[in-house]
């Protein structure tokens, strides 16, 4: 990806590898993100044809997914210290890692998760649509692409960059 400084990315990777030492909530964000993403994904893997017209349920499932992704991103941005939430960026703002590389590191993590969710949802939707409904449409691919990749990256990514500025 353009603009990535591999050296700084490795420094950040080594820093987060020690999260068990400095992050007392090491497993909490992952656990909560998993709890939120699991039901959202169960609904997203169901073929698009089932949801046609029932956008309210789809919207709720999308919101739950967004909350899960927000929790996932938070594990890289915040940690608990003396019962208070503190920003990781405030700790590392004076070390030799730039704001841009820190943002790219977190966004790469988010992108990787979104790609996995999109791939899983698209594959499952296609298989279930063909196997159980004897049909397939572009919606079986577009819905996971929009719902698990494009919109979350835009919304969560821009919120993260806005908080970081």
């Amino acid at each position: 990806m353009r603009g990535i400084d591999e050296k700084q990315q490795i420094l950040l990777k080594n820093f987060y590898a020690q999260e068990k030492t400095w992050g007392t909530d090491y497993y909490l964000f992952d656990f909560v993100a998993g709890i939120l993403l699991f039901p959202a994904m169960i609904l997203f893997i169901m073929p698009f044809q089932i949801w046609e017209g029932d956008y309210q349920v789809l919207g709720i499932c999308f919101l739950i997914e967004l909350m899960g992704l927000e929790m996932y991103v938070k594990q890289y941005c915040e940690f608990r210290d003396k019962g208070k939430r503190r920003s990781v960026r405030n700790i590392i703002c004076y070390v030799p890692v730039s704001y841009r590389q820190f943002a790219l590191y977190v966004l790469k993590k988010l992108l990787k998760l979104c790609l996995c969710l999109t791939g899983a949802a698209a594959a499952c939707q296609t298989v279930f649509a063909l196997a159980f409904l004897d049909t397939f449409s572009a919606g079986n691919l577009l819905m996971p692409l929009l719902g698990c990749m494009v919109l979350p990256m835009l919304l969560i990514g821009s919120t993260f960059l806005w908080k970081l500025r």
Partner: protein, 249 residues
């Protein structure tokens, strides 16, 4: 010839036009403070003081060096290299000590040094532990339990351990115990002795600046109002009441 460590070349801060802090309905009280045409050159082997009233711009000047998201005109050079060419890499050469700097409160000094020292190219954990020993501060003490003075000692040890050429000390001597104050300046003298580094420290204590620093600059409303040798400058400034500490009493 003395090596130039830090150079400010007509640095003037820029207010970002579309920043929420500068929107019209917010009055001037909410506008971000900027520096105005700052120029100076710091050489290796000296201790420089920076004085001024509260809100004059002393800490802001340091933030212009340390942060990469501040807009300004002019240039800032560290060892002849413009910091905008590779800001993160040049931060390897800067050691920052300040009460406002944050560390992991639940980790020990040694753990903090190990975690954050990994970001620096030349950080040596052994050097850090030796310096902590010489300051009579245990590296196994949890950061949260340290007093203000102990935290500043830890930060100084951490800074020295990654071998910077520029030390930025922001109000570190305020509230320091008299015994350690003497040791502290001896440590600074050792740092600059080999003429590979310089120290820029801010302080409100004019007596300390006069006797312990080689040169002093005076900040007023974001401008560098005066710059010269401490022994000459301080008596003149005291007469004019511009050292800040007299007004703050």
């Amino acid at each position: 010839m003395e090596k130039s460590i830090l150079t400010f070349d007509h640095v003037t801060g820029l207010r970002r036009r579309f920043s929420p802090q500068n929107w019209g309905f917010k009055n001037a009280a909410f506008r971000k403070f900027v520096l105005q045409d700052i120029s100076f050159d710091l050489k290796a082997g000296y201790i420089y003081g920076l004085m001024g009233e509260n809100g004059a711009g002393k800490t802001t000047l340091m933030h212009y060096i340390l942060k990469d998201n501040i807009s300004y005109e002019g240039h800032i050079f560290i060892e002849g290299t413009d910091i905008r060419t590779d800001h993160a890499q040049l931060l390897n050469r800067v050691g920052y000590v300040s009460e406002d700097r944050q560390f992991f409160e639940n980790c020990t000094a040694a753990q903090n040094a190990e975690i954050l020292g990994g970001f620096y190219e030349n950080f040596h954990q052994k050097t850090f532990l030796d310096i902590m020993d010489s300051m009579n501060l245990s590296a196994d003490k949890v950061y949260r339990t340290m007093s203000r003075g102990e935290r500043l000692k830890f930060q100084l040890a951490f800074a020295i351990a990654h071998e910077p050429c520029l030390y930025l000390l922001d109000e570190v001597t305020a509230g320091m115990d008299p015994v350690f104050r003497i040791d502290f300046f001896q440590i600074l003298q050792q740092i600059i002795m080999d003429e590979r580094a310089c120290v820029l420290m801010t302080s409100h204590i004019s007596s300390e600046i006069e006797t312990r620093t080689d040169y002093v600059g005076v900040m007023e409303n974001g401008c560098l109002a005066a710059f010269g040798e401490s022994l000459d400058m301080i008596p003149r400034l005291k007469n004019r009441g511009r050292t800040g500490d007299e007004r703050n009493r």
